[in-house]
């Protein structure tokens, strides 16, 4: 099935704007830019995990003069991996603006920096919302949370397990039945960065411990370093408003085979883990970055009056409305129903008049019923669903609401019965009078 899909996609490649389509959001063609082709061999395990999931990796040197993201105005790749921390200038038609355009059009990006990261890589990261330490010789050092090692004694090899708590981004560890992991930490050796806390699009996925700091290990500190503690982020992700996802890591060696295979023992803890969590962590994270998880689509918005099946063009105030929507999540190969209990719909005109949580049948259907307010105007059924790690769902459907027609009020008002009675008695009296008046003698 997957081969058929791949064959179909490769055949129609020239004709599709990008095979990253709304129906099939996972990326397929990935351009990997390297400083040195030896990275292809030393990080082979990571690339293998991608290739085994069906990605088509295209390895090129970062300064290869023939590289380019677009051809004749169409993007030839769905995603970009930059494993070239020291590149000063990309070859071909790739530059800072081209990469930012690439992300702006909804494509995904993985950037790995490292010590001696070039200004270009730092600039790209700044545009994505991540600030690396300006000191070019600084590395993240942690004297209480380092990885115990026979060969690295300067505490720049850090073992961190301060993950973001999000099952969407990191995968549900309970699904992975690998007992060897057991809360193993992730090995990291590189530079740290901070994110602006007011930016709600950037998230710290792996943070440093409170005793970490970013400095040059070979020179003494005279003033406090600018990056300290848990505000140092080792790995961050960005989900842009157009749902493009960017992964930024301060260490290229975190992706290397050596770190994947290494044993870990965190300083101060007696647990010796057979294998670091790097492979699982980065595999799960790459699944999220390439939209194999956490990508929602909301379809089939329907609303109708209770008891009817058609969608009316206009509602009347005080009507009872039923609203339903279907939300699916992409699971790498197919759309599965998305199950959550906090999807809400708003009945909105300038401000929400009604905000209700939708109930679900756990098969992707979300529905609710409510009464149209007694204010008339043009309303919108708005579903704005923003959750950590999920693509944002923002749907709105406009619907006008009219007031009562003159014949939709109560026909006979009980308070007015005496008046009705008066009118009728007068008519009766008049009739009797006409008879009596004419024929009385």
């Amino acid at each position: 099935m997957l081969k058929l899909l791949l064959a179909f996609l490769t055949l129609t490649l020239p004709f599709l704007a990008h095979s990253f389509s709304p129906d099939h959001p996972t990326d397929r063609r990935v351009l990997v830019l390297l400083d040195d082709l030896a990275v292809k061999s030393s990080h082979s395990l990571f690339f293998k995990t991608l290739q085994s999931r069906g990605f088509d990796l295209d390895f090129k040197l970062a300064d290869d003069p023939k590289i380019g993201l677009q051809r004749y105005g169409q993007y030839t790749y769905d995603a970009l991996i930059l494993f070239s921390p020291t590149v000063d200038r990309f070859g071909g038609s790739i530059d800072l603006a081209a990469i930012l355009d690439f992300v702006d059009t909804g494509h995904d990006l993985i950037i790995a920096a490292d010590t001696n990261a070039s200004d270009l890589i730092r600039q790209i990261s700044v545009e994505c919302g991540v600030d690396f330490d300006e000191d070019p010789s600084a590395m993240v050092i942690d004297h209480t949370s380092y990885a115990v090692s026979d060969s690295e004694g300067d505490h720049t090899l850090i073992a961190s397990d301060d993950f973001i708590s999000s099952d969407v981004i990191l995968g549900s560890k309970k699904i992975e039945a690998s007992s060897i992991l057991d809360n193993a930490p992730v090995l990291f050796k590189g530079i740290g960065h901070t994110i602006n806390s007011e930016n709600s699009l950037v998230l710290k996925v792996l943070s440093a411990s409170p005793s970490a700091y970013s400095a040059n290990p070979n020179s003494k500190l005279s003033s406090p370093p600018s990056l300290t503690g848990s505000s140092i982020s080792l790995v961050s992700v960005v989900q842009a408003r157009n749902n493009a996802r960017v992964l930024i890591s301060g260490s290229l060696s975190m992706f290397s085979d050596r770190f994947f295979r290494s044993k870990v023992q965190k300083a101060g803890s007696p647990d010796k883990h057979e294998k670091s969590a790097n492979e699982q962590f980065l595999t799960e994270l790459s699944k999220w970055v390439f939209h194999e998880r956490g990508h929602l689509k909301a379809v089939n918005v329907r609303h109708h009056k209770v008891g009817e099946a058609d969608e009316p063009a206009i509602y009347r105030i005080n009507d009872d409305v039923e609203y339903s929507i279907e939300i699916y999540e992409w699971h790498g190969k197919s759309w599965e129903p998305y199950v959550a209990d906090d999807v809400q719909v708003q009945f909105y005109m300038m401000s929400p008049y009604v905000l209700k949580t939708l109930s679900t049948d756990k098969k992707g259907n979300y529905f609710t019923a409510f009464k149209v307010p007694d204010v008339y105007g043009v309303f919108q059924f708005k579903v704005e669903y923003h959750r950590l790690g999920y693509t944002s769902v923002a749907l709105s459907k406009q619907i006008p609401v009219r007031p009562f027609r003159h014949n939709e009020y109560e026909r006979f008002i009980p308070a007015a019965y005496p008046y009705y009675g008066a009118a009728f008695t007068m008519m009766t009296g008049f009739f009797v009078f006409t008879v009596v008046h004419l024929y009385n003698k």
Partner: protein
């Protein structure tokens, strides 16, 4: 040019990140073996070249894989039997056969040999000659019954030599002007093969020229800072494959020439370090190149490199770790008898005089390590550079092996740092002490202090190494965190052993954004060689700072937990407009009843008045009209009622019109009749 330096930089980076340490190389170990099993996982291989790569790697590493034999041997026999196979296919088939020993028939080999000889004599491309010569050499090794010797070995030698360049590199063929180091490796290997296949002795002067070419080639070798040597080619081949090719060529040549090749041992050792420094490559070809080259170097005839490695470069004074050194071959086999001396050791930061005297390490036969039982007493915590010297016992071994002379290794000596006399106090502006509290920085503390902006806070403690010297850790931070999560970090300075930090709040008022309140105190002390680095909460201090003036900078807003931004919002339900309060139904109904009273009163009054209908016309026609008139009025009134109930105005008016005409007519008749009767009565 830029790419070259870039490439070098990056490979250096990779060397640093991939190598176990900048200066320590480790021979092949079990992790290589397990990686090999993972890497070459297929049962049957796409091509014999790939099969050979896998099998050779398994052979070198000593891994046994019996299951691949059947299918591979089948394709070997097929390739060797086919008359269309190119020299390259035959080459790899024979390579696989030499490992698996598939039992190829002598006749097949004879046929191949004669074909190959023809190719050798007529070929013009280096690759064809290489594969053919290589295949012939393999046949020679596998069976002595087939004649593979070359008649015109000199001629072949010359034709290969003709493709060489002045800088020691080779061209691929006479029409291809590009020279390549990789091709040089192939050529040297091929020439070594020619020498071994020569039926008669080859001209020694030509071999001498070849050796000079090899020396020239080695002049162009590149070097890393950590002592690794490699050959690089910009196009087509990676440094690994190029270096592997040269090593294969060199070792092949050394095996067939009687005199030693003049290649400095340092360079051979450097090449070995290059291969070891790659770690575990991730793809088959790289892995094969690494392992095959190391196998060639293990027992080469130029000089066998001996690698000095330390199992651990982090020694702990508390655990009384011993310094262990291992010297062995690249594949991990044991070295000839030798002694390892620790010549000197000095601090990484300063190249001062050595802190220890030169001493020998004891060789422990069982473990194979050279051990220094006890670190010299003068070695305190810190990072050092240890300089080792390897001395071979047997002077003859020096021609066979190369040790690289002196080896410099970065060593970290860690230990527990003593923290004493820790105290925190609040001082008045005239340095007199207001409050003073002792701290136990080995455990938790929770002091509670208070100060105003005119006072100072002083924290002081003493750090000493296990040997009693002063120690300055890399990280000594004092952090104050306000309730609103605003943080301030200070570096605690020292003079000798005493560490002291005085916070003068008067000068810090601005930095603290004039925020008064409770600040949490936290001390972090850490260093690479400090085994007991810590981050401790000391307690809290209530600061009373003056009010912020208008122009003061605002404190940074506290970080918002991103998870809070993404949450469901509170539900809103619309409050409907309350309809006006209407009177209760029964009141309306009561009044409805009340309204009937006047009607009844009217009717009763009429009866009391004694009304009669005497004036009603008696004759038929006027009577009918009369009745019709009143019926018409009633009809109109009923029409009105219907109109109120459900008709619309237009229908009503239509009917009204009709009824009205009728009523007019009828009314006119009856009224005129009544008028005439009353006038008759009057006149009468």
């Amino acid at each position: 040019m830029a790419t070259r330096t870039l490439g070098a930089l990056v490979v250096l980076l990779l060397a640093i990140t991939i190598c176990e340490a900048a200066s320590v190389f480790h021979p092949i170990s079990d992790s290589h073996r397990s990686a090999a099993s993972e890497l070459f996982t297929q049962g049957s291989f796409d091509s014999l070249e790939k099969a050979y790569e896998a099998l050779r790697s398994f052979e070198v590493l000593g891994i046994d894989k019996p299951d691949i034999r059947g299918a591979t041997c089948k394709s070997v026999v097929e390739k060797l039997g086919s008359s269309e196979s190119a020299p390259k296919d035959l080459f790899y088939a024979l390579k696989v056969n030499s490992i698996l020993k598939c039992g190829v028939k002598k006749e097949v080999l004879e046929g191949i040999a004669s074909r190959l000889k023809a190719v050798v004599n007529g070929a013009s491309s280096l690759l064809d000659i290489y594969y053919s010569i290589g295949s012939l050499v393999l046949i020679k090794d596998q069976t002595s019954e087939v004649d593979v010797l070359l008649a015109d070995a000199d001629g072949v030698f010359r034709s290969i030599k003709s493709l060489s360049q002045s800088d020691g590199r080779w061209r691929y063929s006479s029409d291809n002007p590009q020279s390549s180091t990789y091709a040089a490796g192939l050529a040297i290997e091929a020439l070594a093969g020619v020498v071994s296949l020569a039926s008669s002795e080859i001209d020694q002067s030509m071999i001498g020229k070849l050796k000079r070419d090899v020396s020239k080639l080695f002049d162009s070798v590149e070097k890393y800072d950590d002592g690794a040597f490699y050959f690089d080619e910009k196009v087509d081949q990676s440094p690994l494959s190029t270096t592997a090719s040269v090593v294969r060529g060199l070792t092949a040549l050394a095996a067939v020439t009687s005199e030693k090749l003049k290649v400095p041992g340092e360079k051979i050792l450097g090449l070995a370090k290059f291969f070891l420094g790659i770690g575990i490559p991730g793809n088959n070809k790289d892995f094969f190149n690494q392992i095959d080259s190391l196998a060639s170097l293990e027992s080469n005839k130029v000089s066998v490199p001996l690698i000095l490695s330390l199992p651990t470069t982090v020694l702990s004074l508390t655990k009384k770790d011993q310094l262990k050194v291992k010297v062995g071959t690249v594949l991990g086999s044991s070295a000839p008898p030798l002694t390892v001396k620790l010549l000197r050791a000095f601090s990484s930061g300063s190249k001062d005089a050595s802190i220890i005297a030169s001493q020998e390490l004891k060789f422990d036969k069982e473990s194979g390590y050279h051990v220094l039982d006890v670190l010299p007493k003068s070695v305190d915590v810190g990072s050092y550079i240890f300089v080792f010297e390897v001395v071979l016992h047997d002077s003859e071994d020096e021609t066979v092996y190369t040790t690289g002379g002196l080896a410099q290794v970065d060593v970290f000596v860690t230990g527990v740092i003593n923290i004493e006399n820790a105290e925190i106090s609040v001082l008045e502006s005239d340095k007199s002490v207001e409050t003073q509290k002792k701290l136990d920085l080995a455990g938790e503390n929770a002091v509670s202090l208070s100060a105003n902006h005119l006072q100072k806070l002083r924290l002081s403690f003493q750090l000493t190494t296990p040997l009693g010297h002063a120690f300055k850790p890399h990280q000594v931070f004092l952090k104050l965190t306000h309730e609103t999560k605003v943080e301030h970090i200070f570096v605690v300075g020292n003079s000798g052993k005493k560490f002291e930090k005085i916070l003068d709040f008067l000068g810090l008022v601005d930095k603290f954004y004039y925020l008064s309140g409770s600040y949490d105190l936290q001390l972090t002390v850490g260093d690479a060689v400090m085994e007991n680095s810590f981050l401790r909460a000391i307690g809290h201090i209530d600061l009373d700072l003056p009010e912020a003036p208008e122009k003061a900078t605002r404190p940074p807003s506290p970080a918002v937990n991103p998870l809070l931004k993404y949450g469901p919002k509170a539900e809103i339900s619309h409050i409907f407009r309350v309809p006006e309060k209407l009177p209760p139904n029964h009141l309306s109904l009561a009044f409805l009843g009340l309204l009937l009273l006047p009607l009844i009163g009217f009717l009763v009054g009429l009866l009391r008045l004694g009304v009669n209908l005497k004036n009603f016309p008696t004759s038929a026609v006027p009577a009918t009209f009369g009745i019709l008139f009143h019926v018409g009025i009633a009809a109109v009134l009923l029409l009105y009622v219907l109109f109120w109930l459900k008709l619309d105005l237009f229908t009503t008016l239509k009917w009204l019109g009709l009824l009205g005409v009728f009523l007019l007519f009828v009314g006119h008749r009856i009224l005129s009749h009544l008028a005439s009767t009353s006038s008759k009565l009057k006149s009468a």
